[in-house]
């Protein structure tokens, strides 16, 4: 590091006014009280704005008997990893969904409620998991793809 006193970081450090910034930060947080620690209502804030993650295009729930019996595996991936699911169809309906491979950057339990939702709704249209949208997207798309295979040639 340049120690002549002319280095860019020294000019920036002088301009920074770290002391004032720190005092302002403490005052702002203290002034709000414990409410300052509450995350914003992320989903509400993202409604209708460009911050909302792209929701994968999903087909409406299929009528009972729509799918061919069997187990269908498929996967989806995005920048943060990939997910493989196995969807089991019995008597034309979604009987169970299992996550058979989890290679996401993020922990798997963020989406652990989703397989049951697929069964309950007979659809890949599961609830958005706030703060785990990448995992949620991969899961939903993988299920959607598996269901597409199950519905082929019907």
């Amino acid at each position: 590091m340049d120690s002549t006193g002319r280095s860019p970081w020294r000019r920036r450090a002088r301009k920074l006014q770290a002391v004032a910034l720190g005092s302002a930060a403490v005052a702002a947080v203290y002034g709000l009280g414990w409410a300052a620690t509450r995350p914003e209502a992320i989903d509400r804030a993202q409604q209708g704005s460009s911050q909302r993650p792209a929701r994968p295009r999903l087909t409406p729930p299929a009528p009972p008997g729509h799918y061919r019996d069997g187990t269908y595996r498929d996967r989806a991936d995005n920048a943060f990893g990939s997910v493989e699911v196995a969807v089991r169809i019995r008597r034309g309906r979604i009987a169970s969904v299992a996550i058979t491979d989890w290679r996401m950057f993020y922990p798997r339990d963020t989406v652990e409620a989703l397989p049951a939702q697929v069964v309950a709704r007979q659809s890949a249209d599961v609830d958005v998991v706030s703060a785990a949208t990448a995992s949620w997207q991969d899961f939903a798309v993988a299920v959607q793809r598996a269901l597409a295979s199950a519905a082929e040639r019907q």
Binding site: M1, L16, A18, V19, L21, Y30, R38, P53, P107, T110
Partner: protein, 330 residues
């Protein structure tokens, strides 16, 4: 970071443990992997009426930890970094903490860098003190991340990160919690909040004289390098003796974000500033910058400080003289 010994009266050679004298009521709890001590300059008989305020003050540590802990998968900061490439709304606390952290990072050319979490984790600082469990974010290639990958929009209160990374707000968060706790106790005529090397004092000690804050010798247990007279404000020391990484790894808990290794030139860096948040962050930055540029940074930021080098030399800011009570002894 466990250096500052706080005491009033007595001489600089007094015994070292950070326990206020018996005539001053004190409360101790464990938060943020360290011991938090609150001492108030009120008669012991009148201490009970401060109990509620003291519990509330301790509560800030839990609140700040729930937002800022990189060990807690459910903390706000961990949930934030699970979104790459999209703006995420953040709480005012996280926004303010990150704003200061990113500003300091820019001003120090990355000597202070809040994206150092991945490097720390890779070096073995990966245990949640509350459970003892190893925590892993699953992050890969942490060395390539820097504060330039984090974009804060203060008006919208959103943060966007460009790539997977792990934020470590440890230095700022502990300081902030100490600052907030002290504010909750401002009604007391004087007091001290101390947490693992960060301490804030205000008012006057029970004996009516000013606060004396001892700076621990980085190599000789129980010995003080200097005693500082502080009217009101924060003193923080970052020291290479405070924490060590997991077995096998070299160095200590402060990592040079620019190079990856633990800086060796500085054994401890003490900073006096109006807030513990700034004092803690600047003591970390000064440790990384070393005995020449460290004090320069402190002077540029209009704070004072004292660095002890690994070979036990002293580097101080020009203004430190005003704060010293008695000679410096190495």
């Amino acid at each position: 970071m466990t250096p500052a010994w706080v005491g009033s009266g007595g001489g600089p050679a007094a015994q070292a443990p950070p326990v206020p004298p018996a005539d001053r009521p004190s409360w101790v709890q464990v938060w943020m992997d360290t011991i938090v001590t609150i001492g108030l300059a009120v008669p012991a008989a009148g201490a009970a009426r401060f109990d509620a305020a003291v519990q509330r003050a301790f509560g800030w540590f839990g609140r700040v930890e729930a937002v800022c802990s990189r060990f807690d998968r459910d903390s706000e900061v961990r949930r934030l970094v699970s979104h790459v490439g999209e703006p995420v709304r953040v709480s005012p606390l996280l926004r303010e903490t990150l704003q200061l952290g990113l500003a300091l990072a820019g001003a120090t050319g990355g000597a202070f860098d809040p994206t150092i979490g991945g490097l720390l984790e890779a070096r073995g600082f990966d245990r949640d003190y509350r459970t003892g469990a190893r925590v892993s974010s699953g992050l890969e290639s942490p060395a390539r991340t820097s504060f330039r990958d984090v974009h804060l929009d203060p008006k919208a209160s959103t943060v966007t990160i460009d790539r997977p990374l792990l934020l470590d707000l440890g230095a700022l968060a502990k300081g902030l919690a100490v600052d907030l706790a002290a504010r909750d106790l401002a009604a007391a005529p004087g007091g001290v909040v101390e947490a693992g090397g960060d301490c804030v004092v205000w008012g006057r000690p029970a004996d009516g004289r000013g606060w004396r804050v001892g700076v621990r010798h980085p190599r000789r247990a129980g010995q003080l390098v200097a005693v500082l007279g502080i009217g009101e404000g924060a003193v923080c020391t970052a020291g290479d003796y405070a924490r060590r990484p997991a077995a096998g790894a070299q160095g200590h808990h402060i990592v040079d974000p620019r190079r990856g290794g633990a800086p060796t030139a500085v054994a401890s860096a003490t900073v006096v500033a109006p807030t513990a948040m700034v004092a803690d962050a600047l003591s970390t930055a000064a440790t990384v910058l070393g005995p020449v540029d460290g004090p320069r940074l402190l002077t540029d930021c209009a704070v004072d400080g004292l660095l002890v080098t690994g070979d036990l030399h002293l580097a101080v800011t020009p203004g430190l003289d005003r704060l010293l009570l008695g000679p410096v002894s190495l």
